[in-house]
């Protein structure tokens, strides 16, 4: 058991080692990288993905996937700004309605996956497609802006030197870790992801667990969408094309197995930080944006590959 724990620590640290190596590398290339200002900016940039990654972690732990995340973020952007600007709904109410709507989209996904039995990849892809259309219809392809100043707080505000989105992200990570490790339904996520039939026969209402997880994924995506909206201060019908893959990358880099049943929140934090360091650092060192894609692909393969290869060797 001791051995096991040690093994786990080393494994999760492998990701942190990658992060530190990256940071050292970027700092050598451009010393500005390691300044507190830049690190905070770096975290602020990744906050949207970090927040959404908490919900995505749950979904992937279940062995499913949520491709709707990007569309939900876009939809939230458009819906919330439409409510505030075109319908004059007060900010607090608009936020509540928006979060409820994003959670409902999650529940719709849960319904398709759990009750109808459509594989999550397909169900959430359909949701993605449909809601990207709906978002564009709502805003008629036009950006919507003109929010109250107070709305800017979520995306642009600061508490001392720390940006509010970073604080929201940290709270979400902590909440995610708490749910996974301390609550009974968090443990159910592992059980359902590991062996759904065994979980069902042990009296776990697996259907409800799936609904819950997709609803949470919708909720966190909604929250991420609000932060993004407040950050860019304008609701657009294509705010977050392809964000789902950014978020999935954070989660998977963090060592959560796409076949479900294993992974930890701390790894996802590391995965998110790596993506954030890469995004920020590659611009700081003037890397051509086409080359950036190549680097991203290679880092993903190396980080995940190392983990997978270890596991594969252990299995023998």
């Amino acid at each position: 058991m001791k051995e096991n724990k040690l093994g786990n620590i080393i494994k999760s640290q492998a990701i942190w080692v990658v992060f530190i190596v990256l940071c050292v590398g970027f700092t050598i290339a451009n010393p500005r990288f390691i300044t507190a200002t830049n690190l905070l900016i770096m975290l602020r940039q990744v906050a949207v993905w970090g927040i959404a990654s908490v919900g995505m972690t749950f979904v992937i732990l279940l062995g499913d996937i949520d491709l709707a995340t990007g569309s939900v973020i876009t939809f939230v952007n458009v819906l919330c700004s439409y409510l505030m600007v075109h319908m004059g709904v007060p900010m607090a109410l608009a936020i509540i309605i928006t979060l409820a709507a994003s959670t409902l989209i999650g529940i719709l996904n849960g319904f398709m996956v759990s009750t109808i039995g459509i594989p999550a990849l397909i169900a959430t892809f359909a949701t993605q497609t449909a809601f990207s259309g709906i978002a564009l219809i709502i805003c008629d392809g036009q950006p919507i802006n003109g929010f109250t100043e107070s709305f800017k707080v979520f995306g642009q505000g600061k508490v001392g030197p720390v940006p509010v989105p970073v604080i929201i992200m940290i709270i979400c990570f902590a909440l995610g870790a708490f749910i996974l490790n301390k609550t009974y339904f968090g443990r159910y996520f592992y059980a359902v992801g590991g062996n759904i039939e065994a979980a069902r026969l042990s009296g776990i209402r697996t259907g409800r667990v799936k609904y819950l997880v997709f609803a949470l994924s919708g909720f966190f995506a909604g929250l991420a969408g609000l932060v993004l909206l407040s950050r860019v201060n304008s609701g657009m019908g294509n705010a977050s094309l392809g964000y789902e893959f950014k978020v999935i990358t954070c989660v998977v880099l963090g060592g959560v197995s796409v076949s479900g049943g294993s992974g930890r929140m701390s790894g996802v934090v590391a995965g998110t930080f790596i993506i954030s360091a890469l995004n920020n650092g590659m611009v700081l060192i003037n890397l051509n944006s086409w080359v950036q894609n190549i680097v991203l692909g290679i880092v993903l393969v190396l980080a995940v590959g190392f983990d997978c290869y270890q596991k594969k060797r252990q299995a023998n």
């Binding site: 564009l136 392809g141 944006s289």
Partner: protein, 302 residues
């Protein structure tokens, strides 16, 4: 400049770097900046405002002297641009009349659309009458503001400049060539006499030109068939120059890519040298049609 060694550093973020027009202009702009001994970073934000805000943040931290944004959504980058201005960094906006900038190099997309419409009208007026109306297809891409404005402008331009000799029979998507080609084929199947195709970008032109070539064959495209869009890319100019394809005119900007890049770099110079734009910081870009008459001249600078 704030750089330690005195060199000037420019950060550029544009909507989309994998787009032929942008890649072409940026390639020339790189040459211009190299010639002036500047350092630069060019990134694309894939039409994503959130990404773009982050990119501007990165430019600020990396110590740029000048940041140029070609905004995915102008409103979204206002905030971060004001931060850049506060940090004593010059900011230029390409396309939109933004507030928190040193100067704007403005392209009025509705106006550009109108110009496309006007150019198309000339072609239509030449070939069609009230009794034999032009069957016009508008190729747009309604998911970005800029292209939406262009499409609306096109319709206005047609209305203003045409007599009662055309009819819009379809509006389809076509940002990239394959999509445009597919949709134009479908339109031609639905309306066998669809004959004029007006679009908002290079992809729309390349795609519909190719669809017409496939339908009729090179050199056999009827005279009264035509494709008219904007964006200046080599492929479009070649098609125009060939004369036996469907491209009839292109609405261009300063001229060739080189002209555009030079004009842009000149703007950079003016801004960096501390020119005072307080009286009028919106510099409007020139728009004008490219036809067989001036195509050779433009091709020289591609």
């Amino acid at each position: 400049g704030t750089r330690d060694d005195g060199t000037i550093k420019v950060g550029i973020t544009i909507q989309n770097l994998s787009n032929a027009y942008w890649a072409g202009v940026m390639g020339k702009l790189e040459q211009e900046m190299e010639a002036r001994g500047w350092e630069y970073t060019i990134v694309g934000c894939d039409n994503n405002a959130g990404t773009q805000v982050g990119q501007v943040e990165n430019f600020i931290i990396s110590g740029c002297d000048l940041i140029m944004v070609h905004p995915a959504d102008a409103q979204s980058v206002e905030g971060i641009c004001s931060e850049a201005m506060e940090a004593d960094i010059k900011v230029m906006c390409w396309d939109d009349p933004m507030e928190n900038t040193t100067a704007n190099w403005v392209l009025d997309n509705t106006e550009l659309g109108r110009e496309i419409g006007k150019t198309a009208s000339e072609f239509i007026n030449e070939h069609y009458t009230k009794d034999e109306k032009a069957q016009v297809t508008v190729i747009g891409y309604p998911s970005t503001k800029v292209l939406l404005e262009r499409a609306d402008g096109i319709k206005e331009g047609l209305e203003e400049n045409c007599e009662d000799n055309y009819e819009i029979i379809a509006e389809v998507d076509g940002l990239e060539a394959p999509e445009a080609q597919t949709n134009v084929e479908t339109v031609m199947s639905a309306h066998p006499d669809a004959n004029v195709f007006v679009g908002v970008c290079a992809g729309a032109m390349i795609g519909s030109n190719e669809a017409l070539l496939a339908e009729f064959g090179k050199g056999k495209i009827p005279e009264n068939y035509g494709v008219i869009t904007t964006d200046v890319t080599l492929q479009q100019l070649d098609s125009l120059k060939a004369g036996n394809e469907a491209v009839r005119a292109i609405v261009g900007f300063e001229g060739s890519n080189e002209d555009t890049a030079k004009a842009c770099a000149d703007m950079f110079e003016r801004i960096l040298s501390g020119d005072d734009f307080s009286s009028g910081k919106n510099i409007y870009r020139a728009i004008g049609p490219i036809t067989l008459d001036n195509v050779d001249q433009i091709l020289k600078g591609m």
